[in-house]
């Protein structure tokens, strides 16, 4: 088709054919990789790594370098884990900690996002608060536990304070760097097609900054989870209930090493699950839609 219209020169109809031909030649269908293959590629390596770690652990345990109460074997830890679940402690503790984590993280997002926009968009605010936010990010949030405890006593308010002080700076910094990475060309195009002021923020700035924002949220969650566990481990109180931190501290008090390992496995599992089930798919979706992943 294209061959016999090529020679006819610049006439409207043949132009359509040439264009269609160019379009067809220059866009190749994206190879649809099978979903099964993708899942296999992302699930198998971590499983292999896990098996390797367990094997090394088992070898160290079998070598009897340390007594059982110092280094329990994988099977003993697995047994403790099973006991925790059968006694009903595990689900309660996981639910309790995730609940606190979700509320604390949600509040951190609600505060960190506008704070990040403020700091990112207004030069004087940035000059003043930017260094403080970066500094706060490098401060281990566990340092806030003693003052928060003195101020609030052993209450959920204390937990949330520590979580906020841990997560808000990292979310705000994430928003800030997301905004910094917005290509100026987009803002100029936005202005030209009529997006000024708030419309520019809504239609150009925020969507353009979304990938950086999501990375900031992911980091914010990691900080929130760490801060929460730090305060749960340090502060034990009936007000705070049976959390994962409580489980871990309890194991220490009973000198139960496999119980402690079991608690750590649970804490890790929650962290990995939230990351892999929430943040990674969200980020991948956003990046893929933009042709960045």
């Amino acid at each position: 088709m294209a061959a016999d219209t090529d020679t006819s020169g610049p006439a409207g109809d043949s132009l359509a054919h040439i264009e269609a031909g160019l379009d067809a030649l220059e866009t190749s269908a994206e190879p649809e990789s099978s979903r099964l293959k993708h899942v296999a590629a992302s699930v198998l390596p971590p499983i292999a790594a896990l098996v390797l770690i367990l094997a090394v652990w088992q070898i160290l345990y079998a070598a009897k370098i340390w007594p059982d109460w110092k280094l329990p074997g994988p099977s003993q830890v697995f047994g403790s884990l099973k006991d925790t679940f059968s006694e009903g402690d595990a689900w309660g503790a996981v639910g309790h900690s995730i609940g606190h984590g979700a509320v604390g993280f949600g509040a951190s997002v609600a505060i960190g996002t506008p704070l990040g926009i403020l700091v990112g968009r207004f030069k004087p605010v940035r000059a003043g608060l930017g260094p403080i936010l970066s500094g706060l990010q490098s401060l281990p949030s566990v340092a806030w536990v003693p003052p928060a405890l003195m101020f609030f006593g052993p209450t959920p308010a204390m937990l949330y304070t520590v979580v906020l002080l841990g997560a808000v700076p990292s979310i705000a910094v994430g928003v800030m760097s997301g905004l910094d990475q917005v290509p100026p060309l987009y803002l100029r195009v936005g202005r030209n097609i009529g997006a000024r002021g708030l419309a520019s923020v809504r239609h150009v700035l925020l969507p353009a900054a979304l990938p950086g924002y999501l990375a900031g949220l992911r980091q914010g969650w990691a900080f929130a989870w760490r801060s929460l566990l730090a305060s749960e481990i340090i502060v034990q109180s009936a007000n705070l209930g049976h959390s994962l931190g409580f489980l871990l501290k309890n194991a220490q008090d009973a000198n139960d090493m496999s119980g402690a390992f079991a608690a750590i496995v649970l804490i890790l599992a929650v962290g990995v699950a939230v990351n892999q089930l929430l943040f990674v798919p969200l980020e991948r979706r956003v990046l893929k839609a933009r042709g960045l992943a």
Partner: protein
């Protein structure tokens, strides 16, 4: 092709800068200068008028302030001296990179321009978007993401987005410079076709002499540092032209000689 276009075309040869000025022009720059803070002047004493429906190519080497000039006309920047008039209000602007928003589909990019223009009905916007996609011959590309399109297709979507602004003035900043020769040639033809069909005034910036002669009714040569209007040529070769035409080549040689002279002034 239509009666209206024919009228515009036949009117062109008789209009001169002086006559244009008497009627409302599409764009008028009067003694425009631009100096960025602490720098040497980028533009100096630019007088330039683009008549409604006229296709003007701005030609110049690096440092002639071509892009700065378009920014002034597009109201993305303000002149340091002189006046920039765009009686219709806003001018649509197209860049070398398509600058389509990657978080929107091709259709949504056009839709956003319609929405910001104030077109409220979702259904009306959809119909208008489809019409514009059809106009740039990208029917069925509504749901395609920019990264799924070729460079030439992206520029056509960008052109459709510019047309969605419904401004009688279209500013183009080297829009085809990043494309391969075949695609560029096809888009030249496409642009002339759309210009004839829409009656837009086009101010087209390029550093490619042949491209300027292939497209424009008038070619304006800017000198560099500072940018001044050095000379201008009326291109009386009838459309459809081809970039290979002898008449296009002959005029290109003449203009290139002037461009070279302009550039060599800076080597002394």
């Amino acid at each position: 092709m239509t009666a209206a276009i024919a009228a515009v075309e036949s009117a062109q040869p008789t209009t001169t800068a002086a006559v244009d000025a008497a009627f409302a022009p599409a764009v008028r720059l009067t003694k425009v200068g631009k100096t960025f803070r602490g720098g040497a002047p980028v533009l100096d004493g630019i007088d330039l008028t683009v008549a409604p429906g006229e296709f003007v190519c701005l030609l110049g080497a690096s440092g002639c302030g071509k892009s700065t000039l378009l920014n002034l006309v597009a109201d993305l920047d303000a002149p340091s001296s002189g006046t920039v008039e765009v009686p219709s209000g806003r001018a649509a602007l197209m860049f070398q990179e398509s600058a389509l928003f990657p978080w929107l589909t091709a259709g949504e990019n056009i839709d956003l321009a319609l929405r910001l223009r104030g077109l409220s009905g979702r259904r009306d916007r959809r119909a208008e978007t489809e019409r514009l996609l059809d106009l740039v011959r990208l029917r069925g590309a509504y749901d395609k993401r920019p990264h799924q399109l070729s460079g030439g297709m992206r520029q056509r979507v960008a052109l459709a987005r510019a047309l969605a602004q419904d401004s009688p003035v279209l500013l183009m900043d080297e829009p085809f410079a990043a494309l391969d020769a075949i695609t560029r040639d096809v888009l030249h033809e496409e642009l002339v076709r759309l210009w004839e069909a829409t009656g837009l005034a086009v101010l087209f910036v390029t550093h490619n002499v042949r491209e300027a002669v292939r497209l424009g009714q008038r070619v304006v040569l800017l000198s560099s540092r500072p940018g001044r209007v050095a000379r201008e040529w009326r291109v009386d070769i009838p459309q459809p032209r081809r970039i290979e035409d002898k008449a296009v080549a002959d005029l290109s040689v003449e203009i290139t000689d002037h461009l070279r002279k302009e550039i060599s002034r800076h080597g002394r």
